[in-house]
């Protein structure tokens, strides 16, 4: 293996740090980000067929937001809780990868 080019780094396993090399896979690993309830992300890659809501609109829990077609299946994405649509980052025909931010929400004040 190509050990010459790499440099030993400090690597904490427990309370102790070891001198070692990192593998490519470890370096490219996904860093965990705490998901936000106000971000509607795609759980599967696919194409946006329809968008039912507009920016600024207050939408009730359970109402349809959009249709995401993936693997020949039309998935209806629904509002997780009543909130205002802050921004829509997709349009009809968009092809999106997994985990892409489709819609951002913001809280509405209780009336």
């Amino acid at each position: 293996m190509e050990t010459e080019k790499q440099e030993f780094v400090d690597f904490a396993v427990t309370a102790r740090k070891y001198k070692t090399l990192l593998t490519k896979k470890y370096q490219n690993r996904k860093v965990w980000v705490n998901p936000s309830a106000f971000e509607i992300q795609s759980i599967i890659p696919g194409t946006i067929l329809e968008v039912f809501v507009n920016e600024g609109e207050v939408v009730k829990e359970g109402a349809p937001l959009l249709i995401l077609e993936a693997m020949k299946m039309q998935n209806r994405i629904e509002m997780p809780f009543t909130a205002r649509i802050k921004s829509i980052n997709v349009e009809v025909g968009s092809r999106i990868p997994k985990d892409s931010l489709m819609i951002e929400l913001e809280a509405v004040e209780e009336e």
């Binding site: 427990t14 070891y18 070692t20 990192l22 593998t23 690993r29 965990w32």
Partner: protein, 514 residues
Amino acid sequence: MTLKKNILALRQKKAIVEKGGGDKAIEKQAAMGKLTARERILALLDANSFHEYDLFVEHEERNFGMEDKVLAGDGVITGTGTINGAPICIYAQDFTVMGGSLGLKHARKITKIMDHALRMKVPCIGINDSGGARIQEGIGALAGYGEIFYRNTMASGVIPQISVILGPCAGGAVYSPALTDFVFVVENISKMFITGPNVIETVLGEKISQEDLGGARVHAEITGNAHFYALSELECLEQIKELVSLIPHSNQQKAASVEPKAPKSKKNIENIIPADPKQPYDVRDVIYALTDDSKFLEVHELWAANIVIGFGRLNGETVGFVANQPMYLAGVLDCDSSDKAARFIRYCDAFNIPIITLEDMPGYLPGVDQEHAGVIRHGAKMLYAYSEATVPKITVILRKAYGGGYIAMNSRHLGADFMLAWPSAEIAVMGPEGAANIIFRKEIMEAEDEDAMRQQKVQEYIEKFANPFVAASKGYIDAVIEPMETRDMLLHALEVSKNKDDYRPAKKHGIPPF
């Protein structure tokens, strides 16, 4: 006179079919930097040892213009031969014949040679170079794949099955290699994926090259689907010959013994491991210092490099090594390294190969990605594989053996036959810093100088527990040995365990966590 005429006719007929897809297609194959199926077989097997079966098999498809198509050997060459004198069965898909596409008869030639290998108890080698299912044959092609997978599974653990990917191997075709014991790939030539770049782009809009999606390096380093990686076809064929010489040819045999040789490694085994437990070294240097002629055939060299697995010989007999590699990720166990070691342990156990475990590991890799990737079930595979194995199991603890990793790396508690430790071994529930922080938490917090107190307590813990003698006093370690004694001790342990007989409860099969 008639016989003579018939013989001449036979020769002519053979010569035509042996040309596969014909001169033009052969030229194209060469232009891609690839050998032809026939060249590959002849280069791999002993000279003049190849005997072909089913040369004149023809497809029976009558739709989509196939009725007029003549496909030499239906796109696959099958037969028997020898490698270094040992008989094997082999098939090679011929890309020059309709892209090596798999139709029912093509598949039936393969299943026939597989059945033969299983009955004769000889290894089966498959050379894959195929565009995939022959679409014109419809579900006939799917049936063919299924019949191959079924036989791969039946032969698993009975005869060695080796897959060589020397071209495209896409869609369902990849599952036969995945079911076999060892997969060989070659840079720029091998391509394996379930859904190819075209489908991915059409469906998802993600653009990726075949090489980046499922090239040789990707499978050797990232996915772990490939066990051996070579830069050329000829290097790959040499690797196969070496592997075949090291493994038994069925589960009822032992690997061939060869003339014992002393290690020729120039490195003094006492100087390989740094005194500071935080400093790395290449654990393969320890293996080279132990094996006959210092030879070691590493499996999965690039994937999960934090654990090293492979075959070597001790006193002329094949053994399998499983060794933590402090050079990478400090030698931790994680999802991939557990998966890699567990499968290798099961391979060794299935084929009567004793397992030597060299241990120097600080624990499991911490991280959300690891926990969410299922390090619990992957890690459990290793516990399962070691516990289940009935071949001789010998462990040498070189340095760190902490916590769950100590248990996992073939400890006495999982049924190790011989537990040896070097004087540098540290066998403890966790590293001294972590342990002192927990045990002496109160003392440290109440001290005027917390750091000084922590240092003192860590030092106390190191002196008391960071050694092999606590474990030895409980009988968990059989002997604390000097590094120089290791090879002799391993030879002796193998000698003693020659007739090992281990009881296992009767069952249909266990349920390992995969």
